[in-house]
């Protein structure tokens, strides 16, 4: 079945948020949100990564490795763009579970880059058959950050 928020399910939302956000990008260095405080791992992968198709990136003047904002109807996060032509140009994929142990407040900057800000995480949009939560996919818009 079609997901609750998509260009087909919610075309009016897609006018402002034209890209399909997928928080399913997995990179092997960390395990989900764990290990961000381990210095040798952060040295390898210091920042959260979002994959953007080069054609999409060109439209917004986004360069490889640049910080970008990803915005959905529920909020905005920032991640570093990795230009990748192995995805559909309409899709933006990102890592999930990011927090920053070096930020010494109780939330450790969880709201800066965490994909859960974007997804709706609501019981209304759970899969009607299985009850699975909708925590991966939604619609989004992207644009470059002022600070590269």
């Amino acid at each position: 079945m079609e997901i609750p928020e998509s260009p087909y399910s919610t075309p009016e939302v897609a006018k402002k948020y034209p890209y399909i956000f997928n928080a399913g990008l997995r990179t092997p260095t960390f395990f989900h949100s764990a290990g961000r405080m381990i210095p040798v791992l952060r040295e390898i992968r210091p920042d959260p990564i979002a994959e953007v198709h080069p054609e999409t990136a060109e439209r917004y003047g986004i360069e490889d490795g640049q910080w970008i904002y990803i915005e959905s109807p529920r909020g905005r996060i920032k991640q570093r763009a990795k230009l990748y032509d192995g995805i559909d140009p309409r899709v933006v994929t990102s890592e999930h579970g990011w927090w920053f142990p070096e930020i010494k407040d109780p939330g450790h900057g969880w709201e800066i880059s965490n994909a859960n800000i974007l997804t709706d995480n609501a019981f209304e949009t759970c899969d009607p058959n299985m009850g699975a939560t909708n925590v991966r996919v939604c619609l989004c818009n992207i644009y470059p950050c002022e600070d590269k």
């Binding site: 092997p28 210095p39 040798v40 390898i44 990795k82 192995g86």
Partner: protein
């Protein structure tokens, strides 16, 4: 003695960075010096291995206390007892192979896991690579498809 070098199959690298972590563990390194590095240049992953230059290696020439030597296997080694941490070799190396360990105040570089080789064991990076893209041996036995650091 038989020459020893690492060689790798770049197209098989999946970007897991396990080699980097294993290297740090084997050499007791913290964050900072990186003796092996996998560069992510979409869609490729490029493992950057550090060279053991032909004689005379520029690092050895630059070293004012002659702490750097090339052994009969072709491995460029730093004598940590002699190294003063002056970083002249770091400046001289054209490949970024010479790294500086701020904690111990010494130069460090890939030693091909010399102690493991002595015991007939594989270098740590080669051992942990899940896609078997890092191999080691005599450069004259390298397969055509492999890129070498020799």
């Amino acid at each position: 003695m038989q020459k020893t070098s690492l060689y790798f199959f770049e197209e098989d690298c999946n970007g897991c960075h396990a080699c980097e972590v294993a290297c740090k563990q084997e050499h007791g390194l913290h964050d900072g010096p990186r003796l092996v590095k996998v560069i992510e240049k979409s869609p490729s992953f490029i493992p950057v291995y550090f060279h053991h230059c032909d004689d005379p290696p520029p690092c050895a020439e630059a070293c004012p206390v002659e702490a750097i030597t090339k052994d009969d296997r072709g491995i460029v080694l730093i004598d940590e007892e002699v190294c003063t941490g002056c970083q002249e070799c770091v400046e001289a190396c054209p490949y970024g192979a010479m790294q500086y360990d701020e904690v111990r105040g010494l130069a460090v570089k890939c030693d091909l896991c010399y102690e493991r080789l002595e015991k007939g064991e594989a270098p740590a990076c080669s051992l942990v690579c899940p896609s078997h893209c890092i191999a080691w041996g005599d450069p004259k036995d390298f397969p055509e498809a492999a890129k070498t650091n020799a």
